[in-house]
Amino acid sequence: MLIFSAVVLSAPIWLDPLGANYPDLLQKFAIFGIFAVGYNILFGLTGYLSFGHATFLGIGSYTAVWSFKLLTMNIVPAVILAMIVSGVFALVIGFLSLRRSGIYFSILTLAFAQMAYSLAYSVLTPITNGETGLQLSQQDPRVLDSMAGIVATEGLPSTNLFGTLIKSQDGYFGFYVAAVMLIIAFYVSLKIFRSPFGMKLRAIKSNQTRMKYTGFNTRPYLLTAFVISGMYAGLAGGLLASIDPLAGAERMQWTASGEVVLMTILGGVGTLIGPMLGAIIIKYFENIFSALNTNELHKIFDFMPEGLENFMVTVVTPFVGEGWHLTLGAVFMIVVIFLPGGIMQGLRQLFGFIMRIFGMGRSSTPAVDAVSKGEA
């Protein structure tokens, strides 16, 4: 745990050589890390594939922005409220959806997510501000702030944590806030994984029928897991809004839900650290790949002979810039086909292989076994 905290907090240093050392990206890593860790509590432990988790992310964002508008620019109440409200929504949606399992559950969550998305776009415009997205304005009441005697200055107010602006000069404060949240979130999920509760969830995944035959009512446990992961998503949404105080319905679209599934799968379902790795990798490469264009590519392949250079650029072009999703889809397929355990399984197999070469390991690789147990 200490190692984990140290690694996360020192991220600006060790990510520097990778060119990922700027606050916006680091914050995204941390926030989507939280989202994926939370999603993994549901999908990784119970095996229930939800296709509607972005709803909670969106609800969290909206709640946080409303808290900025009505109460205070401090992010603490915003984040707490975001978690509570999305938790309540998760309770309702989970209560209904968890009556079914398997693909029916996936479709139900998808249906709820699409409903929320369409409603946010159309009817709920007074609350969500429709297509434009919910934004701050100078005329917002901000009851608590005005009680504390803070008056709105010129321009839009920015979010703060007890007076320290989130968007400070060098911008790292926002990252550290998100990073601390990530560490807390990770710690909680670690505790859940190793608790009797986590054990029960895993038992549900491996054989729900048998659980029920032993006289065990599985639904309350599933619902708890669903609500917890919904609250994680709400927390991530609240943090997203804290960094950039606007919320739009596109955060709730089902492709956004698909993205968190991708992160979890890519990293390794049911492992502790995998989903976070997946989130970081996807966000990192999204950032790099979508920025590349033909000229940049020519620079990269500069060392090759002329003909080969042009050929490489032609081959690679469809995969970068606008076509980043193509890469994502292809990588994703490859992972699902060849590495169902995600990157974590890959790493384990690699370690096992190295161990065997040096004659130190056991005779068989414990990789798949360990991944399915979730002991990361």
């Binding site: 095996g47 594939l49 209904l96 009556r99 079914r100 399992s101 398997g102 693909i103 029916y104 996936s106 479709i107 139900l108 998808l110 249906a111 709820f112 699409q114 409903m115 369409s118 409603l119 776009y121 159309s122 009817v123 709920l124 729900q208 029928t209 089902w254 492709t255 698909g258 599934v261 799968i265 469809p318 606008e322 076509g323 999703h325 193509l326 994502l328 889809g329 292809a330 994703f332 397929m333 699902v336 086909i337 169902p340």
Partner: protein, 338 residues
């Protein structure tokens, strides 16, 4: 009365598209036991078959524009017109119906390649894995299409002769002013024909009989020495063709763009689940039912009572039906349950 008739017709053509996609999805579930999230992408590929065929037909040559005399003007003229004159023009005009002929072999090929190359390896894996890999495939197909055809919808007009509207009012002895686009009527008829063809194929041919037997009890049929697998692969190809044809014919109604497949996929999955997983009749019935409900919900009178209902009606119905009837309208016991 008129308004209701129009809404029913409106719903029927959309329902036709839902029913065709859902039919293909159900065939795939029933035979191979695979949840195919790339089915919407196949629908989109069908629509782009029409686009591609139209593009091929209208490959043009720059020729001198004779109608402008005072300076040298050039216009594009398709080779077909140059070669065959009016016949060529007519062929271009009918590009959408003709592209059906083009789409059938193409889609069949795509389907068989997809099944042999990818789906085959996923029979024994969990449904979650199947969903995920086909979802990835759908993204890949979608992005490839965007790479070649761009992000904007491409208008693909129907033949001129059916571009107008039919006076459906007078068919039913109602108001003369009640009109409805011809192409949508054709689409409805077309989808009914395809659905009927699939059902007849499964009910009255030996091949169909074997397929149905295989769906009911694969092991026994295999023990009888029948190669079930090859037939199922062909069925997957047929499902692909059905989705593709649904897409081809839908192109004039909705100009194809690269993400139309995803939009339809989500809805068709809801349709399949509402109809009952694995039930072909249920899929068709639910497709038309949800199409009609959707068009009724978009009437102004109803929107005035429940604002926003047109956006969510399908999902709302799906939630209600799944909670009341866990297996959907016509689902059988033991299909896709754990």
């Amino acid at each position: 009365m008129d308004a209701i008739l129009i809404q029913i017709l409106n719903g029927l053509d959309k329902g036709g598209a839902y029913a065709l996609i859902a039919l293909g999805l159900t065939l795939t579930f029933g035979t191979l036991g695979v949840v195919n999230f790339a089915h919407g992408a196949l629908f989109m590929l069908g629509a782009f078959c029409a686009v591609l065929f139209q593009k091929i037909l209208t490959i043009s040559k720059k020729v001198k524009d004779e109608s402008i005399t005072f300076f040298d003007a050039y216009k594009e003229q398709p080779y077909l017109e140059i070669w065959w004159g009016d016949t060529g023009t007519a062929i271009i005009d009918y590009s959408v119906p003709l592209s059906i002929l083009f789409a059938i072999p193409v889609m069949l090929l795509i389907g068989v390649i997809m099944e042999r190359g990818l789906i085959k390896h996923f029979y024994k894996r969990e449904h979650a894995d199947q969903i995920l890999v086909t979802f990835g495939l759908a993204i890949v197909i979608q992005e490839i299409i965007r790479h070649f055809f761009g992000a904007n919808p491409i208008p693909t007009p129907a033949p001129d002769i059916v571009a107008g509207s039919a006076a459906v009012g007078s068919f039913f002895g109602l108001n003369e002013n009640l009109v409805y686009p011809w192409w949508r009527l054709i689409y409805l008829a077309f989808s009914l024909v395809i659905i009927a063809a699939v059902f007849i194929f499964l009910k009255f041919t030996t091949f169909g009989m074997v397929v149905r037997a295989g769906m009911a009890d694969r092991e026994t049929v295999e023990l009888l020495g029948i190669n079930v697998q090859r037939r199922f692969t062909i069925v997957f190809g047929i499902a692909t063709v059905v989705a593709g044809l649904a897409g081809v014919m839908y192109a004039p109604i909705l100009p194809p763009d690269y993400h139309m497949g995803m939009d339809f996929l989500v809805l068709s999955f809801v349709v399949v689940v509402v109809g009952g997983m694995g039930s072909l009749g249920g899929a068709v019935a639910a497709g038309f039912l949800l199409g009609i409900l959707q068009s009724f919900a978009s009437m102004n009178e109803i929107k005035a009572i429940f604002p926003g209902i047109d956006q969510i009606i399908i999902y709302l119905v799906a939630v209600v039906i799944l909670l009341i009837r866990p297996r959907g309208l016509m689902g059988r016991e033991g299909v896709f349950e754990d």
